[in-house]
């Protein structure tokens, strides 16, 4: 007998063994017990959550010679035959390979024939989203009113691709991803059954990597088992998955935060030479940054993806060094590079570039943070004459920013398209009951639209509300002196050149 993959051996054979889909199991079991099974079901959900398995259990339960409480016995001839795939009245159809109208017509013909062996005919149509439109339509009539001896079970990972007319004829069950605990629990049972000795950390690592799919989890387990044998540590799992551990990531981020370019490049080089993939490294970094972000907000309550156990102290040390904006930007950079690394062969350099870019963003953030603190707790350090002016200017900037946000918010409430136009502008200042709003070169369209009556009136209304008096509005172009020269000059005179000039 040849070897069977773990996920095939451990396919649940009874409702009781199904992990994590309690509601669905209960509903089906009740229906079976009271003999009120519908004639068509649609099982939808992500991979490895039990759709095909439950379909097979239902097939057994309706044909079983001595069902108990809706459970198949797995002992009688029918159950055994179904398990071996030799039962004539349970037909498993691969809709992806047989997706045309001819196959469906053929099915329609055969449906009429009474069951030969069991009580009812069960058609399990897997990957049903791949049927062509014609095939779906050919199925409609049969699906609505099949002969009383027939049950259809459709299974798919992509329910959004199933026509509404099919959906409305079926009872739909949405399968959910399994939780970490459920997968880990199942893995533990399987490992015990085989006499494997797994480290707790290793089990959870596999469970986390499986991302909600039990098949993925068992696949990985199978692989690690084949690679290493009975005793398995976290390191073995990391080896097989080709990923680095959280301590390495923590050190890497430390190097990035301290702007130690040499160390970053050395560490990346080391990892790549050990055979880690560039894309995988980038992805792991994304996970780590995500964990850090969560930790910043939730502390120990966060549900971590890569960081385990005691290594949380790295997060504790790092969380003060970055602010959220920078972290989000860094995340975006890394996610982009994961996408790009999918396709390119110049792997190594791309990865290095992504890290260097991240270094720029992350390491500039602590400075900002310190500055911000100074401002708030100004009495801590006596402000020297030098740093006084920028702080003041900054405060003014801040005030204007808030005001501008208020205006934008007011406009948005009234009319969203107007807000879209206005948001491309920049608030310059108010002088003698005239508000000046600038538009950059290339935003001529926006400026002109804002000058139209409808939009202008909306803005006027909002301004009057905020300032409690009517204001005149003046839109100006900022870096193209060809247009309304005089207005720009006036604005520069009022507010100073550095305000009027727009920097990118």
């Amino acid at each position: 007998m040849s070897y069977l993959a773990l996920y095939r051996v451990h396919r649940p054979q009874r409702f009781e063994e199904v992990v994590g889909q309690d509601k669905i199991v209960k509903a089906l079991q009740n229906a079976l017990r009271e003999d009120r099974l519908s004639h068509a079901y649609l099982f939808a959900g992500p991979r490895g959550t039990g759709k095909t398995s439950i379909a097979k259990i239902v097939a057994k339960a309706v044909n079983c010679e001595s069902p108990k409480e809706g459970e198949p016995c797995n002992q009688c001839a029918s159950c055994r035959d179904i398990n071996n795939g030799t039962f004539m009245d349970v037909v498993e159809i691969d809709a992806a390979s047989n997706r045309g109208i001819d196959e469906m017509r053929d099915l329609r013909e055969k449906v009429r024939i009474l069951p030969a062996q069991g009580k009812r005919k069960v058609y399990i149509i897997d990957e049903v989203h791949m049927l062509t439109t014609e095939a779906f339509n050919a199925l409609l009539k049969t699906l609505e009113e099949p002969p009383s001896h027939v049950i259809f079970i459709l299974a798919t990972t992509e329910p959004q691709r199933i026509p509404a007319t099919i959906k409305s004829r079926c009872q739909i069950y949405y399968f959910r991803r399994l939780t970490l605990e459920e997968i880990a629990g199942r893995l533990k049972k399987v490992s015990e059954a085989y006499g494997m000795d797994w480290e707790e950390d290793a089990l959870y690592l596999v469970a986390r990597r499986a991302n909600g799919g039990l098949r993925d989890a068992l696949s990985i387990m199978d692989q690690v088992y084949a690679y290493k044998g009975e005793r398995i540590t976290k390191q073995d799992v990391l080896d097989v998955l080709g990923v680095v551990d959280d301590v390495f990531l923590a050190h890497l981020l430390d190097a990035v935060l301290s702007r130690d370019m040499k160390r970053v490049i050395e560490m990346l080089g080391q990892a790549l030479n050990e055979g880690k993939e560039a894309q995988q490294l980038a992805r792991e970094t994304v996970f780590y940054l995500r964990d850090l972000l969560l930790y910043k907000h939730l502390g120990d309550k966060a549900d971590f993806y890569v960081v385990t156990g005691d290594n949380v102290h790295f997060l504790e040390e790092q969380k003060g060094k970055v602010d959220q904006d920078a972290l989000l930007k860094a995340l975006r950079i890394m996610m982009n590079s994961v996408e790009r690394l999918k396709f390119s062969e110049g792997n190594r350099f791309l990865l290095e570039m992504a890290f260097l870019e991240m270094m720029d963003i992350l390491s500039s953030s602590p400075g900002k943070l310190v500055e911000g603190e100074d401002e708030m707790t100004g009495d801590k350090k006596p402000a020297s004459g030098k740093s006084k002016t920028p702080v003041k200017e900054k405060a003014r900037d801040e005030g204007e920013k808030v005001l501008w946000q208020k205006i934008l918010a007011g406009v948005k409430e009234k009319k969203i398209p107007t807000h879209a136009l206005l948001s491309q502008g920049k608030f310059i200042g108010i002088k003698d009951d005239v508000i000046y709003i600038g538009f950059k070169k290339g935003y001529r369209f926006h400026k002109e639209r804002m000058e139209e009556r409808g939009n202008r009136e909306i803005l006027e209304e909002v301004l009057a509300k905020i300032f409690k008096k009517p204001l005149e509005i003046q839109f100006i172009f900022l870096d193209d002196d060809q247009y309304n020269d005089i207005m720009v000059k006036k604005a520069i005179e009022y507010f100073g050149e550095d305000v009027v000039q727009i920097r990118d």
Binding site: M1, S2, Y3, L4, A5, R8, P46, R47, G48, T52, E92, D94, A96, S97, R99, D126, E127, H129, M130, T157, G213, R215, D216, S219, D222, Q223, A226, Y227, D239, V240, L241, G242, M261, K262, I265, E266, G269, L272, N273, G275, K276, E277, Q279, R340, K342, F343, S344, E345, G346, N347, R348, F349, L350, E352, M353, L356, E357, D360
Partner: protein, 319 residues
Amino acid sequence: MPFLAQVKGQDKALHILKKAAEGGNISHAYLFIGPEGVGKMLTARMWAYSLLSREDENAALYLREGMHPDLLVIERDENKTLLGKDKIVKDLEPWLALKPYHAGHRIAIIRDAHLLSMEGANALLKTLEEPPSYAVIILIADENTLLETIVSRCQVIRFSPLPSRVLEEILLTRGISEEKAKEAARLGQGSVAYALHFGEEEISKNWQTALYIVSILGRDGEAAIGEAAEKMEANPQLIIRMLETILRDMLVYNSTGEELLLTVKESQDIVKMLNKRLNEEKLRQAINKIGVLKGYYRRNVNSLLININVCYAVKNALF
């Protein structure tokens, strides 16, 4: 296993496969994933050979002729861009339905599985999940763009880029001179296929060209674009890689000053020669840009046109 000895540098992958074969727990579906040209196909073939010859004493004869009845390689047709559904439904499925002739297994290798069409990939799902007991399906993919549902059905075996040391060894056994092998290995970035390709080229001459291009672009700016693009035409695909390497080195040297981190030592001379502060941001952008442009050479675009774009990217990085 004499067959598997032909595969170099993929110790971890080989270890898993050997263990599986020895322990008799060969899974029904494998996914070999890793960059282009690092030995995935070779490993798949060799592993299949070793499995078959263990079970079938006459296997050597059949394999020599490349027609063992229990080994099937599914490849993309040359005039197609994708692996279609027909390949799966008409070739693979009926073939797997037959019992093995000589050996204990029937092994199907699907090459370039990342090129499977949407229909093809979906058609494979059921077979991949529960094939007949004697079947072994090996998918080979360069890029991880496969369906989630496919990956979850396979044991994933990762193939890593080869360390320069191993590349060098391989090149040496192919009769390439030592010095050249070293250069080509560095440029190959872990891929045997590329390294071999470069091993046949006049590397040192091209290096000079690449260095020259960067230096004139750095000195004369826009005025040198024409000349630089013309120079690149000598061997655009090779030179663009060199330019990429040089820019990266300049960036690294500029901010660390470490010679050890450099791929090419000459890069630091350029940094010294240009004698100005390099803008890291701009260098990074240029490298990313070149990374994108590199892909265009394989498409239907006039290479001189790409060269000009590349030269502009280099120029922008230096000014």
